[in-house]
């Protein structure tokens, strides 16, 4: 499969997907920001409100989370599924056993941060970011990509 991502105005990479969770009856289209530097993925506080996630029913994470200049408590949401839609229109389910949901930021007011698709999910795929002179496409794929490097001596 090959999934084509989009760049926004500020060059953050967006991946549209459907997020499904049975516990909270979540079945929503949304988009996550691809963040290869993030060790784990995040659902934002705004998504939690949009999707009626009752944070009090979730297990808190051991510590707070600092992302994009804001600090918030976190909670584990279990047993979710992300549905990716590939360039041929085929759906691909990805099990998300545990994802962190951010709670209300400690300091108000604040600027919302985007939901992050981090290494816990990205490590299942290969991310190709083409240079601007080669079209600038950003592709997430489960194909085995071979690049031959010259051997070093």
């Amino acid at each position: 499969m090959r999934i084509i991502c989009k760049r926004d105005r500020y060059r953050y990479i967006r991946l549209p997907l459907r997020f499904i969770n049975r516990q909270f009856k979540i079945d929503h289209n949304t988009n996550f920001c691809i963040d290869t530097g993030a060790p784990y993925s995040l659902v934002t506080y705004e998504q939690a409100i949009e999707w009626n996630i009752l944070l009090a029913q979730l297990t808190p994470t051991p510590g707070p989370h600092s992302v994009g200049g804001i600090e918030c408590p976190g909670y584990y949401l279990e047993n979710s599924v992300m549905l990716f839609r590939d360039s041929k229109g085929k759906l691909h389910p990805v099990a998300v056993n545990n994802i962190v949901v951010l709670g209300s930021p400690f300091k108000q007011p604040y600027k919302p941060v985007p939901p992050l698709l981090g290494d816990d999910i990205l490590r299942q795929f290969t991310l190709i970011v083409k240079s601007d002179r080669h079209g600038g496409d950003i592709i997430l794929t489960d194909e085995d990509i071979h690049i031959n490097f010259p051997s070093s001596h």
């Binding site: 989009k6 760049r7 926004d8 105005r9 500020y10 953050y12 967006r14 549209p16 997907l17 459907r18 499904i20 969770n21 049975r22 009856k25 979540i26 079945d27 929503h28 289209n29 949304t30 988009n31 963040d35 530097g37 993030a38 060790p39 784990y40 995040l42 506080y45 705004e46 409100i49 949009e50 994470t61 051991p62 510590g63 707070p64 989370h65 600092s66 992302v67 994009g68 200049g69 976190g74 599924v81 549905l83 839609r85 229109g89 759906l91 389910p93 600027k111 919302p112 941060v113 985007p114 992050l116 981090g118 816990d120």
Partner: protein
């Protein structure tokens, strides 16, 4: 899965969502002019509604748009580069 829709219906909705997200990204400059620092809900390549907070937006969507609101692209419109940096977590266990 929690979804009650068929794969074909989900596919159609996701395709529409992708088109609407593209519309948001392509029209971001004009969205900044009208809705900078606000949340917008976009459906069928147009703004359905907007609000200062996500709570206000959700209230509007739930009361006025119901299923349409459910399918909309929800975005916060950053008037300038948000300069997000790395994710840091304290005491997190993988």
């Amino acid at each position: 899965m929690a979804t009650q829709l068929s794969d074909a219906q989900i596919n159609k909705e996701l395709e529409q969502y992708e088109n609407d997200l593209s519309w948001v990204l392509e029209n971001y400059a004009s969205l900044i002019q009208k809705y900078g620092n606000e949340f917008v809900a976009v459906l069928n390549e147009g703004v359905l509604t907007h609000a200062k907070t996500i709570q206000q937006l959700k209230k509007k969507l739930d009361s006025e748009f119901k299923q349409d609101g459910h399918r909309a692209v929800i975005e916060f419109i950053y008037p300038e580069h948000p300069n997000f940096v790395l994710l840091h977590a304290h005491n997190m266990q993988a």
